[in-house]
Structure formats: structure tokens, C-alpha cells
């Protein structure tokens, strides 16, 4: 174990400890008292982090299904990594969400005892529970090398990933009073953006493995294929983002105004920095390394900020605001919300790093 790895694990462990302390504070003082969410802006950074991680998880599953169901054999070396990352990101996402819920102790019981079949959130809970279970079974099938279960599992992962994530999109898509997120295409938009998140994370991990573990022919071929997958995912996300914005800017309803107000940021940040620059990097950087890793890092950071812009943006234009009330509601994440984000990211980092360092993922047959 190198010193650099020890420092890395140490930092992540600090993140986990900080998160545990924050969790203790949330349960003793109350989340509402500590967070910067308000009566008019009820969902903040933790919800947007959940969306971001759920989106990334779904993307990882898509890349995994591309290898197993799509017959892209060159992606085989990343198959166990994709499944583990999908599982870790979705669990971390739910951790972030759980720590924002007012009465967490009622969650499981009430969901079973009092289901509301008209609620997208209830269906989201059902589909994501199925998704997590299926991912766990898939990982177990890989570890014990049960081939028929792996095949069935791949199909189940794809179905539950699409169902779960599009339903998550519908959670916002049905909010008819909030123009920034409302619409039948929101579930589809979420799915299209998911592919980008997953492809970026797996490309980043693959680059880091090449840097720290050294590359081999099989892995180099996987990275070459991943570059193409990444470019395809950017193209899909670009299309979804541009059209969503064009429609948003075109609509004159005041509840869509945020599209106009954020147009400059959208052009310079989301499109130019978040999509065009990474594409150029991937086109010119053919070998796995620090240069190539820069592209997914930029995408992942921009997507994280964009998810927050979307979720907070849905609430930012106050409903029925009076003359003396601000038209755009202010929101800055509180330290407790940032700590939770560090906590969940550290959970992903620490488990994955140890699994990778111990060679656990290389032992898995695929």
C-alpha cells in the first residue's frame, strides 16, 4: 500500500467521520434547523446530490448493459467496476436524501402500509428498491460466477434502471405549478443525462486505474471504447440540454423565466465548459492518463452544479410572489448540507478504492 493511497484513504475517512458527526447533529438538532432550506425553497443541495448520484448510478448501469447486453465485448474489463459503482452511487444518493427527510423512522413502514399509487415518489421508491436489490444480486452472481443469473440480472438491471430513473424524472415532471421542471419530457431528459454521468465516472475510474496500476492491452482497448461511449453520451446529453433550454427560453410563462435569466451561464458553463471542452479533450487525448481524465472530471463537476441549478431552480421563482417579496429566492447551501455531500462522496470513494486496491474487482470473472 503506497503512501499516496494511505493519504487518500485518510482523507476519505475524515470525510466519513465528518459525515457521521453531521448525521448525529441532524438527528439531535433537526435538519431543518441546520440547513438553509426555507418554507418556500424546501429542497436543497442534498436532494440535488441525490438526483446527481442516482443519475450517475443509472449511467453506470447503462454502460454495464452496453457490455453485457449490447455485446460490446471490449468493455468487459469494466463490467464489475460499473456494477459496484452503480450500487455505491445509488446507496450514497439515498443516504443524502434520507438525511433530509423529516421523519426518517416512518419511511419504510408508511411506504408499505399507506401506498399512494398516484404518487411518482412512491413509484420511485419501489423501482429504486428493486434496482438496488437487482444490483446486489448481479454483483453476487458475478462473484460466485452464476452465469444464467448474470444474464437475467443484466436485463433486470436495465429495466429497473430505466424505470427508476425515468420515474425520478417524473417526480419533477408532474409539478405543473413549477415551469422550470414541469413537462412530459423531464423523465426522458433525466435518462438522457444519466448516460453522460455514468460514462464519465467509468472513464475517470479507468484512467485512474491506468495511471496507478499500469495499463495492459485489454484495458487499453476498453478505454478506447469508453472514449467512444463518452462521446456518444455527450452528444445525447447535448441534444437533451439544448432542446430543453430552447423550449424554456421560448415559453413566455413567468415560471419559466429562469431559462432566460440563466442563459449566459448555460451557454458558457453547461455547454461550452461542460460538454464542448471535454469532447475536445477526449478527441485529442487518445491514451488513458491525466490528460484524458480531465474530461470526465470537468463533466462530473459541471453536472453536479447543473443538477443543483435544476433542482433549486425549480423552486427559485417564488409562487404567487407579492410586490415586496423577492422574485428570485436566494439559496446557499449550509455547512451541514455540504458535510452530507462530502460524507456520501467519501463513502463511495473509500469502499471503491479499497475494493480496487485489494484486487477484489480483478478476481471477478465476467
Amino acid at each position: 500500500m503506497s503512501n499516496l493511497f494511505k493519504v487518500w484513504i485518510g482523507l476519505l475517512a475524515l470525510g466519513v467521520l465528518l459525515g457521521l458527526y453531521t448525521t448525529f447533529q441532524i438527528f439531535t438538532i433537526g435538519h431543518g434547523e441546520l440547513a438553509n432550506t426555507t418554507q418556500l425553497l424546501p429542497w436543497g443541495l442534498q436532494v440535488s446530490t441525490y438526483i446527481y448520484l442516482a443519475l450517475t448510478s443509472t449511467g453506470c448501469s447503462f454502460v454495464y448493459c452496453l457490455a453485457t447486453l449490447g455485446g460490446v465485448d471490449k468493455l468487459k474489463p469494466i463490467v464489475p467496476r460499473a456494477v459496484l459503482l452503480a450500487l455505491l452511487t445509488i446507496i450514497a444518493g439515498f443516504t443524502s436524501l434520507s438525511l433530509e427527510i423529516g421523519r426518517l423512522e416512518r419511511l419504510a413502514i408508511e411506504f408499505i402500509v399507506n401506498p399512494n399509487l398516484t404518487s411518482p415518489m412512491w413509484w420511485m421508491g419501489v423501482f429504486y428498491t428493486m434496482y438496488i436489490v437487482v444490483l446486489m444480486i448481479e454483483l453476487a452472481a458475478m462473484i460466485f460466477h452464476i452465469e444464467w443469473l448474470m444474464k437475467v440480472g443484466s436485463v433486470a438491471v436495465l429495466i429497473t434502471a430505466i424505470a427508476g430513473h425515468s420515474t425520478l424524472g417524473s417526480v419533477f415532471g408532474v409539478l405543473e405549478g413549477r415551469g422550470y421542471g414541469f413537462g412530459a419530457l423531464t423523465p426522458i431528459y433525466f435518462l438522457m443525462m444519466a448516460f453522460l454521468g455514468g460514462a464519465s465516472l467509468i472513464l475517470l475510474v479507468s484512467c485512474l486505474i491506468s495511471i496507478f496500476k499500469g495499463s495492459n492491452k485489454e484495458f487499453d482497448e476498453a478505454v478506447t471504447t469508453l472514449r467512444k461511449v463518452f462521446l456518444a453520451s455527450v452528444a445525447i446529453a447535448f441534444l437533451a440540454t439544448v432542446w430543453r433550454y430552447v423550449v424554456g427560453v421560448w415559453v413566455s410563462d413567468p415560471y419559466y423565466d429562469l431559462f432566460d435569466l440563466g442563459f449566459n451561464k448555460f451557454l458558457k458553463f453547461s455547454l461550452l465548459l461542460g460538454m464542448i471542452v471535454p469532447v475536445l479533450i477526449v478527441v485529442f487525448q487518445k491514451k488513458a492518463g491525466i490528460g484524458l481524465a480531465l474530461a470526465p472530471i470537468i463533466v462530473l463537476v459541471v453536472q453536479f452544479i447543473d443538477r443543483n441549478t435544476l433542482i433549486v431552480g425549480i423552486q427559485k421563482i417564488a409562487l404567487l410572489q407579492g410586490v415586496w417579496e423577492p422574485r428570485i429566492l436566494p439559496y446557499t447551501p449550509a455547512p451541514v448540507e455540504i458535510s452530507v455531500v462530502i460524507f456520501v462522496m467519501s463513502i463511495i470513494g473509500i469502499i471503491y478504492s479499497i475494493a480496487e486496491q485489494r484486487g477484489f474487482l480483478e478476481k471477478i470473472k465476467h
Partner: protein, 229 residues
């Protein structure tokens, strides 16, 4: 409920009466009077909009609540929250197009935090010296002091109105104890509370005679609060 906008003077008595009757923490506005301007410069029209919960016929909050904690009562169409089921996920707050739902457990609006001054016991959010009687406090209807971590909103003063059988009208003087606090408190008598489905009630007569509209009607939520022109 019908609110005559021509009579409303924007005095906020209804908001204060609501907060006092239902013992809300500062910032937890179950009832607001919103001052809005409409139209273009030169023809601008300023209007006061008293805004209680609209108790929509097609309430988005009841559709989105994952555990049916928010429900619509069949007998009178009033939308209520069951605090014993509510998860505090705040999806209903997001879904409400009128911004009438509150989550009292947020950073205090004023210092010192009144919730700290009157510490809540037995999982209650706080324990103020003046609050509804034990009989009137009902977590299943969402009246009184809530527990921590749940969503709250206007109940049309269910603890008062439920004490009397359904009648076409509630006279703010004769039926004082059975009428919502905001209706009693209005010095301009701009508010009318009764059965909109009964053609003999004052509410339906006023709506019929003077014409009325509802907030954000384009959404199809069919609010039960009518704004008389």
C-alpha cells in the same frame, strides 16, 4: 370560501388571527395576504390577495404524497394532513402551486428562536403557553402544535368548523365558535364561509351574482377559494 377583493383592505387581520388561533411559529404563514400588481405601467392595478390554503378539488398535494398523509375529506372537500403519517419529505410543498404549505422546522425567522424559548415536550415542535385545548389538537387533522419534522397548512380551522354539522353558511357572529378565525377577524366582512354546492348559501350567491375567479385556474386544480371581483 369566498373573498370579496373589493372589500379587502389588506389589513392582515386574517393572517394574525390565523397565526394566533392555530399557534404558528413566526414565518410559518398558513395564511398570507399578498400584495400584487397587475397590468402595465400607467394602467397598473394593485390588489390584495388573502391566500389561505385553496383546498383544491383536484389537489396536487394529495396526488403526490407518497404515503397518503395528505388527503381530501369526502364530506366537505377540506384537504388535511395526518401528522402521524407525514414523512416530512416536502414533496407536497413542491407540488402546491399556491405556496400554502409550510415546514415549520426551518431556521427561525426571528431571534431568539421561539421554539427554543418554549421547548417542545413529547416530540412536539414547541410548547407555547397559549395553544388549542387538548380536544381541539388533533394530529390526524393537522390542527394544533405539530410534531417535529412534518408539513403543516391551513385546515379551514377544522377544529372549529367540525364542531357543527354542515350548514349552508357560517355566520361570523351567530356561528362565531364554528367559523374559521380569518372569517371572524375580517373587519371589512370580506370573507364568506359556507357550502359552495348549496345554491342557497351566501358564498354561492355572491360568486353567482358578482362573478368570481380562482387563483391559477389554468392549472385545473379547481380551488375552493373564490375571489369575488
Amino acid at each position: 370560501m369566498a373573498i370579496d377583493l373589493a372589500k379587502c383592505v389588506g389589513c392582515q387581520a386574517c393572517s394574525v388571527a390565523c397565526s394566533m388561533e392555530n399557534t404558528r411559529v413566526p414565518g410559518e404563514n398558513w395564511h398570507k395576504v399578498i400584495f400584487m400588481n397587475e397590468g402595465e405601467t400607467g394602467t397598473k392595478k394593485f390588489t390584495w390577495y388573502p391566500r389561505p390554503c385553496q383546498h383544491c378539488t383536484e389537489a396536487p398535494c394529495t396526488k403526490v404524497c407518497p404515503v397518503r398523509a395528505t388527503r381530501k375529506r369526502k364530506e366537505d372537500g377540506v384537504v388535511l394532513i395526518n401528522w402521524y403519517k407525514c414523512l416530512g419529505c416536502r414533496y407536497c410543498v413542491m407540488a402546491c402551486p399556491y405556496g400554502v404549505r409550510c415546514y415549520p422546522e426551518v431556521k427561525p425567522l426571528l431571534e431568539p428562536d421561539i421554539k427554543e424559548v418554549y421547548h417542545g415536550r413529547r416530540a412536539k415542535l414547541w410548547d407555547p403557553p397559549y395553544q388549542l385545548s387538548r380536544e381541539e389538537q388533533d394530529g390526524k387533522r393537522g390542527t394544533g402544535i405539530p410534531p417535529k419534522g412534518v408539513v403543516t397548512k391551513c385546515t379551514f380551522c377544522a377544529h372549529r368548523t367540525d364542531r357543527k354539522e354542515m350548514t349552508p353558511d357560517r355566520d361570523p357572529v351567530k356561528d362565531r365558535d364554528f367559523t374559521p378565525a380569518c372569517v371572524i377577524a375580517c373587519p371589512a366582512s370580506a370573507r364568506y364561509f359556507g357550502d359552495i354546492d348549496n345554491p342557497e348559501s351566501e358564498v354561492s350567491k355572491r360568486v353567482e351574482r358578482k362573478g368570481a375567479y380562482r387563483l391559477r385556474e389554468e392549472l385545473g386544480t379547481k380551488p375552493q377559494v373564490f375571489y369575488v371581483k
